[in-house]
């Protein structure tokens, strides 16, 4: 079943690539962004595009998609050349995708998943939230779904059973908004995004509080399709990403992203996520 879907996606990618081949005089490099970070921040997008374009010496088209599933689909069908996605979808498509680099945050290419509640909520841990409403970011997000779902799976429960209502907001910032606004009592959010929001929009995060943090897990990586990893453009993209901290534009982009740099690919960083995937499937 999986093989059939892959073949179909590859076919679609070939079809989609046909017009691109004809227009290869100056094809822009298409880079997909995910709701991992502050997806509504035009300054971030602009800085990242400038930095990548400068590093690659090529036009960059930043493509935004609502869900990780759409990003993965776009990578697979070739409608985008590279993407910044999450460790969970990367591992879901480990055979098709290859790491280009892993962002370094606070000195390490790692981050945590936070369980947050309203600022005045008495809950102190996940078990206190039984029977309440919960906001996830994306069903394919590690920090915004997998961590909490795998924690519940360890006690043999699913989110739908444990919570009275579960909603997907398709954005870590949206999870914080949902909890801060009282739409749900708790939420699973990317720790890096919550910390970045805490610096950029302290009024928003002040209405929430973190009651539990996961272990350190592999930071959402930059990936490309395995079969295109040798493409000069893709290679250039990987090199540009790794060299971001070496250029002025790159440092500017990293500054607005609250990142330190991009580390070389290392699959071992995502072992923790793989373990949680196994726990979820096992649960």
């Amino acid at each position: 079943m999986q093989g059939t879907r892959r073949a179909m996606l590859l076919g679609a990618a070939t079809l989609a690539a046909a017009p691109w081949v004809r227009a290869q005089g100056a094809p822009p490099f298409r880079f997909a962004l995910t709701p991992v970070f502050l997806d509504n921040d035009a300054a971030v997008i602009s800085a990242l595009r400038s930095a990548l374009a400068a590093g690659m010496g090529q036009d960059i088209e930043l493509v935004q998609r609502r869900t990780y599933q759409e990003i993965s689909g776009a990578l697979l069908d070739g409608s985008v050349d590279a993407a910044w996605t999450c460790g969970y979808p990367y591992l879901q498509h480990r055979s098709e995708f290859r790491l280009l680099g892993v962002p370094v945050w606070r000195g390490r290419p790692l981050y945590q998943s936070y369980l947050i509640v309203g600022a005045d909520d008495p809950a102190t841990a996940l078990p206190d939230l039984r029977g309440t409403t919960h906001a996830f970011s994306d069903p394919d997000s590690n920090s915004g779904y997998l961590v909490t779902a795998s924690n519940l799976a360890q006690s043999g429960e699913t989110p739908d059973q444990f919570f009275s209502r579960v909603i997907f907001t398709y954005g870590h910032r949206n999870v914080v908004r949902a909890v801060a606004g009282g739409l749900t009592r708790s939420g699973s959010v990317d720790g890096y995004v919550w910390e970045a929001l805490n610096a950029a929009e302290p009024d928003l995060t002040a209405r929430t509080k973190v009651i539990s943090r996961s272990e350190w897990l592999g930071f959402p990586p930059f990936v490309a399709r395995s079969d295109r990893i040798g493409d000069p453009a893709v290679s250039a993209c990987g090199a540009a990403l790794l060299a971001l901290s070496a250029t002025a534009e790159g440092r500017a982009a990293l500054r607005v992203l609250y990142l330190d740099g991009v580390a070389a690919p290392d699959d071992a960083l995502f072992d923790g996520i793989a373990a949680r995937m196994a726990a979820l499937e096992g649960g």
Binding site: T133, I167, F168, T169, Y170, R177, G181, G182, L183
Partner: protein, 475 residues
């Protein structure tokens, strides 16, 4: 009840501006009411339109999400719509699915997901029916239509505090504005009316200040631009001349009355002079005949001296009576002796009995002027003598009280007629025919601040004059 007569008593120059001000206030109230009603309608229309646009806009945006029952999408749209819209106006928006279960609200804590929307729809109205009720929070509710099908409901709470404040502010401005405008116009009206009515004021003042002798208004003060008022003032001026003429005539009559009173005494006084003259002539004959008899000469000389002394007294009394211009001369007991001297022959000629009682000291009498009192008493005595008739009885009683001198003249005549009483006691116009003696009495008494009382006791008529004593009470 007393305010109306008081208002009527106000001068016309005040009443007209007051009425103008009253009408302005009434007009201001009506205008304010109209403005507020219009403002209310405009606000209602504005509110209704805003609510309609808000709900319709949300309806369009929310349709697919509500159909999918996507809680986050619905919340996200509501939340972004609230911050994009006039955030102060929209307090709460609640979206429910077709079963009436809340999908999301701008404030999920107030309207939790899954609750029944009915509690929020309790007093909600459709957008076209929304009206300002004075409540700072109003609720509107509308069905959520998507592709022609009702898929849910939207309830919105609107904060109309600002509109209420605007209404209050307009009402306050109207109040202050109208008050200021009314005050200004009333003041202007007062100025205009006062200017228009100035000639009337002059006329009233001329009449008030005249103290019974109306003063004509100078030609320069006659408003030529107002023919009606000019005619009125000219008529008034003609009237004042007529009144002056009449007052002059009355003065002359009163002047003449003094001679009249003496004239009325003339025959008795003639007797009074004539009688001693006979005796004196006899004495002169006796002297001539018995010039060599010293005792007869002495007796005749004494007789002549007494007769001449009497004549001198009578002449002096007549002169005194005539000299009414003795301004400032105080009243003395001798003045009553003079009056008796003048009047006694008149009474005697009619065989009348004269009761003469003078019970007031000189110091009391001195606190009254002589001339008017003498004139008053003489006139009344003459009237009393005329009324008492042959062999009648006439009385004079002068007595002093604490602070007044009381002079009572009595007679046993038939009493005073209505016309005479009118002259003596009333201030009205003099009836034609009849003398002015009694009116002169009244005028003199009034001039001295005194009072006249008339009394009829069986067969006697009593006229009592009370003269207030001037100066400190040292009597």
């Amino acid at each position: 009840m007393t305010s109306l007569p008081r208002f009527r008593d106000l001068p016309v120059t005040l009443r007209v501006p007051l009425i103008t001000a009253g009408l302005m206030i009434l007009l201001g109230l009506l205008a304010s009411q109209s403005v507020l009603a219009t403002l209310g309608r405009v606000q209602d229309a504005r509110l209704s339109e805003a609510a309609r646009l808000h709900l319709e806009g949300l309806s369009v945006a929310l349709g697919p999400s509500v159909l999918r029952q996507d809680v986050w999408e619905v919340y996200d749209i509501l939340d972004r719509a609230r911050s994009a819209y006039d955030g102060r106006r929209l307090l709460l928006s609640v979206v429910a699915d077709e079963r009436g279960r809340i999908l999301a609200a701008t404030d999920p804590r107030r309207a939790p997901v899954g609750e029944d929307v009915a509690t929020f729809e309790a007093d909600a109205v459709l957008p076209p029916e929304i009206r300002m009720t004075g409540d700072p929070v109003l609720r509107v509710s509308a069905p959520l239509l998507y592709q022609g099908r009702e898929i849910g409901r939207i309830v919105t709470e609107l904060d109309v505090t600002d509109l209420l404040a605007e209404r209050r502010s307009v009402a306050m401005w109207l109040l202050f504005g109208n008050t200021a405008a009314t005050a200004l116009l009333a003041f202007g009206g007062w100025l205009a009316v006062a200017r228009i009515l100035r000639p009337v004021g002059t006329l009233v003042q001329a009449m008030d200040d005249s103290r019974g002798a109306p003063r004509p208004i100078p030609d320069v003060d006659i408003p030529r631009g107002d023919p009606g008022l000019a005619r009125l003032i000219q008529t008034y001026n003609r009237m004042t001349t007529a009144v002056e003429s009449r007052a002059e005539a009355e003065r002359r009559l009163a002047e003449r009355e003094r001679f009249v009173s003496l004239g009325r005494l003339s025959s008795s006084l003639a007797h009074e002079v004539n009688n001693p003259l006979g005796g004196l002539l006899n004495a002169a004959d006796t002297l001539r005949t018995y010039a060599d008899r010293p005792e007869v000469v002495r007796q005749s000389a004494e007789l002549m001296q007494r007769g001449l002394a009497h004549l001198r007294e009578v002449t002096r009394a007549i002169l005194e009576q005539h000299r009414l211009d003795r301004a400032g001369q105080p009243l003395r007991p001798e003045d009553f002796e003079d009056l008796r001297l003048l009047f006694e022959p008149e009474a005697a000629s009619r065989g009348q009995v004269l009761d003469w009682e003078l019970n007031a000291g000189a110091s009391v009498l001195a606190r009254l002027p002589a001339a008017p009192v003498r004139q008053v008493v003489l006139n009344l005595l003459l009237n009393a003598a005329a009324a008492a008739g042959q062999n009648g009885r006439v009385g004079l009683d002068v007595a002093n009280g604490q602070d007044r001198l009381s002079v009572t003249i009595s007679d046993d005549g038939p009493g005073l007629g209505q016309a005479d009483l009118g002259r003596l006691l009333g201030a009205g116009p003099l009836p034609p025919g009849g003398g002015v003696g009694l009116r002169l009495v009244r005028d003199l008494v009034t001039g001295l601040g005194g009072a006249i009382q008339h009394e009829r006791l069986e067969t006697r008529t009593l006229i009592r004059i009370e003269f207030p004593l001037r100066g400190s009470a040292d009597a």
